[in-house]
């Protein structure tokens, strides 16, 4: 399955969003995720089933004005 993570197309063999974060090396309580433009809550990542072509955003706090 191929998904797009933060704009980069990657091939993955995991089923859930939580597993994707692990295999891609994303960790930390400060991360927020969205799939196809909709928020995927932290508590729901384990049940969130990925599909081919999903667009995933992994965001974290950054400086801002």
């Amino acid at each position: 399955m191929r998904v797009i993570v933060n704009g980069e197309e990657v091939a993955v063999s995991v089923a859930t969003l939580a597993a994707l974060l692990v295999v891609r090396g994303f960790e930390g309580e400060w991360l927020a995720t969205a799939v196809n433009g909709r928020v995927a809550a932290n508590t729901a990542r384990g049940e969130y089933r990925l599909e081919d072509g999903d667009r995933i955003e992994v965001l974290s706090p950054m400086q801002g004005g």
Partner: protein, 257 residues
């Protein structure tokens, strides 16, 4: 005391966290500015989450209220999703709502802004909308549920200061009970004092402090200016006059000829 939803603050200076020469200078400036609310953003994390994590810990250590923004969003949908993600991370209902309409001026897209504000207010957010001083837009934002407005006084990062004090004054007069915070365009402490003298409840400053020669000293200067402007507003400013008015009493003046 300065009341924001769920918080009573001693300081009316809100500070951005971008463009500082280092995290240590940012932290020192926030303390020197006696600032209790900082803005920040959300951006794509790198693998490992190290960038966001370090910044997250720095902000936590400052013991301040966090006002996440939706900077860089150009549609209401983007801004709403970003706001929801910010709430997920920070556990706050506050969101500084930005929907940018024009790339060069970073002028707000007020149509998208109102659309996003309506969605977020209905979802329980306390929306701090980055807007203009347009009264019609203000009215639409209030109808959407906003109790706070954050008009610019000049384009973001321009440091030009208040371009239209009449417009800012009119907004203040139209909404005496709303919380009004000037968001963008402040360049000098005197600019902050000017808008506070107009009766604004607070100012948000980033570039003018972060890019100053001495950001820590400048934060202190802004804090003083904000307090001075507020005190001036509270104590009854004398309106400008067209002609000179002698301050020294004329009665009792000696006659030498």
């Amino acid at each position: 005391m300065f009341a924001l939803p769920g918080a009573n603050l001693g300081s009316r200076l809100l500070m951005g966290t971008a463009r500082y020469p280092s995290p240590a200078v940012l932290a020192a400036a926030v303390r020197a500015g006696r600032c209790e609310v900082v803005t920040l953003s959300l951006r794509r994390e790198t693998v490992g989450g190290r960038h966001g994590g370090a910044f997250f810990e720095l902000i936590r250590s400052l013991d301040v209220h966090v006002l996440p923004n939706t900077a860089g969003c150009h549609t209401a949908r983007e801004a709403v999703t970003t706001a929801e993600m910010a709430r997920e991370i920070f556990g706050t209902s506050w969101i500084k709502l930005e929907v940018i309409g024009y790339h060069d001026t970073l002028q707000p897209d007020v149509f998208g802004l109102v659309e996003a504000a309506r969605i977020l207010c209905a979802d329980g957010f306390d929306v701090f909308p980055y807007t203009t001083d347009d009264l019609v837009v203000g009215e639409k934002l209030v109808e959407a549920g906003c109790r706070i407005l954050m008009p610019w006084c000049a384009p973001i990062g321009s440091a030009r200061g208040p371009r239209d004090t009449h417009g800012l004054r009119a907004l203040r007069a139209a909404y005496p009970d709303l919380t009004l915070i000037v968001d963008a365009g402040i360049g000098r402490p005197s600019h902050a004092a000017t808008v506070m003298e107009l009766g604004y409840d607070g100012v948000l400053v980033d570039t003018a402090i972060a890019e100053a020669g001495d950001p820590v000293g400048m934060a202190e200067a802004f804090a003083t200016a904000v307090e001075a402007g507020r005190r001036g507003w509270q104590t009854g400013l004398v309106e400008p006059r067209d002609m000179a008015v002698p301050s020294t009493p004329v009665i009792g003046k000696a006659v030498f000829s």
